[in-house]
């Protein structure tokens, strides 16, 4: 396999294969915590940290524990355990240092464990056979792409709270229609740039 340049991986993770708008990974938090910018930013920070750490740790576990012992079939179970431990760590830190953020994130903080975006990064790293540096860069890039879209989405939703629309479109349908526009922009702008 041809070595992929780090810059290409970075662009891939942030824009071209954006996790939320192109690959549909991590949508629960996308529609759940984007009602205001502050909690969206807090959530994104936590996800960036967990994603980068998960990409690093799971690469080490996969390459130095599972492959030598020929137990690759246990990959899914061991990745989930790694992610759950990391999320627990983040939860302790946030609860101790930023209690207000902890309250506003609510159920979504422990749910990062079952956020498909985090497990998605790890699985995509394995399936595209990235080396250590590439895995870490892809983890960071995916986190940044997640952050950008979360901030855009929460900004738009905050401003559109008082828009006069039919009551049955309010809430989730409205969020999905905004996401349609954002996704269209991402598809049209970034798929035409060859990297």
């Amino acid at each position: 396999m041809v070595e992929k340049a780090l810059f290409a991986i970075l662009m891939d993770g942030i824009f071209i294969k954006n996790f939320l708008l192109i690959q549909f990974l991590g949508l629960c938090s996308f529609v759940g915590v984007t009602k205001d910018v502050k909690s969206a930013a807090g959530m994104s920070g936590a996800v960036v940290f967990v994603m980068t750490m998960a990409a690093t740790v799971s690469y080490l576990i996969y390459t130095y524990v599972l492959v030598p012992t020929k137990m690759e079939f246990l990959d899914l179970i061991s990745f989930i355990v790694v992610i759950a431990a990391l999320v627990q760590l983040v939860e302790f830190v946030v609860r101790k240092n930023i209690p207000s953020l902890y309250r506003s994130l609510g159920i979504f903080l422990p749910l990062i464990t079952t956020n498909c975006a985090v497990l998605g990064v790890v699985l995509l790293n394995v399936s595209s056979e990235y080396n250590f540096i590439q895995s870490v860069v892809f983890g960071i890039a995916a986190g940044l792409g997640y952050t950008i879209v979360m901030l855009m989405m929460s900004g738009i939703r905050e401003r559109s709270t008082f828009v006069n629309i039919p009551s049955s479109v309010r809430g989730l349908p409205q969020a999905f229609l905004i996401a349609t526009m954002l996704s269209m922009a991402f598809v049209n702008y970034f798929w035409v740039i060859p990297i």
């Binding site: 179970i77 956020n115 009551s167 349908p173 269209m184 991402f186």
Partner: protein, 204 residues
Amino acid sequence: MDPLSEYIRGITRDNPIFGLVLGLCPTLAVTTSVENAIGMSAGTAFVLVCSNVFVSALRKQIPSAVRLPIFIIIIATFVSIVKMIMQAYFPPMYAALGVFIPLIVVNCIIIGRAEAYANKNNVFYSFIDGLGISTGFLLVLMLIGGIREILGTGQIVTFDYTLISLPINPSVTTMILPPGAFLTIGILMAIVNYQRAKKRAKGG
């Protein structure tokens, strides 16, 4: 509780997508065609039914403080089984669904049902609940997949059989690209909300 109404409840009131709003990622990602929708629902259904039965059978033994990690391990085991079976017997389907087969493990529907239903009810009802929710999931996925496929390609082709073929191809390619998924589910959800509001108003 009678089994039939428990089964129907999974399709209507507790429908995973429109009722509980769980499991959105696979719903949007794999519904580019009806065929993918069926493959994904089949995998999810197997995992959901098995995990519901297992969790329910072991619910007296599982200490409640560590129940979530145990649920996840049970689910991950069944997902590994599905992944290996698909990889071995249906390689084209596995390639099309890609990373979303292993990602069944973090599908909120499955862990949600384990926590909210299987952990409190007996094995038989958990089995029925798993079947009902899976059927609801299958129907919604096929609906979204059908809308996107027919608008995007002008026909519905499932396992080499052409089910529907439009005389004029609308070829709205956007519908089989990511924005089409958001658009379809947004409009469907608005319709469901509208119907619910109308029903509520009628009921007083």
